[in-house]
Amino acid sequence: MRDDSALSVFLLQLVFLSFVAIGGINAAVPELHRQVVEIHGWLSEQAFTDFFAIANAAPGPNMLIVTLIGYQLGGATGALAATAAICMPTCILTYFAAKAWERFKDAPLRMAIQAGLMPITVGLVAATAYLIVRTADQNAAAVAISAATAALAYFTRIHPLWAFAAAAALGFAGLV
């Protein structure tokens, strides 16, 4: 599906999204899903879940899910444009904001902003978890893999990559 107008709409969405996604890309996933799957139908539910998994398992920042969606909408150019759209505007902001931050380091308002945004981030990450679990865990084997990975990552210091590798191996063997 290659559609220039879809790609430009998507790029614009990413720029807006990058400014409200407090707490990083994991907070933005529900909105990405709403736009890309529910409203525009650019991706199937299955493809979205797959892309999320690939972006998580591959090395590099998790924001790369937008690179995959960009590729789907506009090939390699779309992929690079989507990557730039999600991070360039906010990177420029960061560049100029660094100095102001030093100046207001101990200002009560700054501390209130930090304390106030944190619980919203928590809620958004939980929303992403809810959404991804609902689509990824379609059978008992998948539920077991999710539970095992969650327990491993929460209770131990074992690198989650091992869980990804084991889960993929179970999948290749046709057990998921």
């Binding site: 990083g24 892309f51 590099g60 958004l124 990824a136 379609q138 084997a141 989650p160 999948g171």
Partner: protein, 189 residues
């Protein structure tokens, strides 16, 4: 004196090439999220900044909009080598993984309906979901343990709005963030 000797330990200012390679290393070793690796590479291995500085940069990167790790690359690149340093660090971090994603996208569009690959993806998806559960739990459990009721209420409202009511993220953040900030500002008085 102690400050200058601490500075002398890290007297070497990384070149543009070193910055690029440093962030490339972070990107390529950072499976399943890059932030923990960023700390290992920047603080422990290359000693470009102290643990305290890293925590400080991380707080700012999380506070500002956009992907956290990208913001960190900008902060560090700019500190050592100005605007060019910032660009080089960001490219080092995002460039190679983005190219890798393009390859994945190509493979996906050709082969995603092969049964054993579908199975692998289903397994990966379940693992990614599990990783997210643990991430959410790591954020929520401390709030529960310390009985931070106000924080929990705002987290619950944000969750309900976005996950259950499917409110657009823009509205959820624009409406909730000012209220939450005002409440915390008022409680601090």
């Amino acid at each position: 004196m102690s400050e200058s000797s601490a500075a002398a330990e890290r007297s070497h200012i990384p070149s543009l090439g070193e910055l690029f390679l440093g962030f490339l290393a972070i990107a390529l070793t950072g499976f399943g999220g890059v932030l923990p690796w960023a700390r290992i590479v920047l603080v422990d291995r290359r000693r470009w900044l102290s643990g305290e500085q890293f925590a400080h940069d991380l707080a700012l990167a999380q506070f500002l909009p956009g992907p956290n790790i990208m913001n960190i690359s900008i902060l560090i690149g700019a500190r050592f080598r100005g605007p060019l340093g910032a660009i080089v660090c960001a490219l080092g971090l995002a460039g190679a993984p983005a190219v890798l994603m393009i390859v994945c996208g190509l493979l996906y569009s050709r082969y995603s309906d092969i049964a054993w690959l579908r199975g692998g993806l289903a397994g990966l998806g379940a693992a990614a979901a599990g990783l997210l559960i643990s991430l959410a739990a790591k954020l929520i459990v401390p709030l529960l343990r310390e009985r931070r009721v106000v924080s929990l209420v705002f987290a619950l409202v944000a969750f309900g709005a976005v996950a259950l009511a499917r409110v657009p993220l823009y509205w959820a953040v624009v409406l909730l963030a000012p209220v939450s900030i005002a409440v915390f500002r008022w409680r601090a008085e």
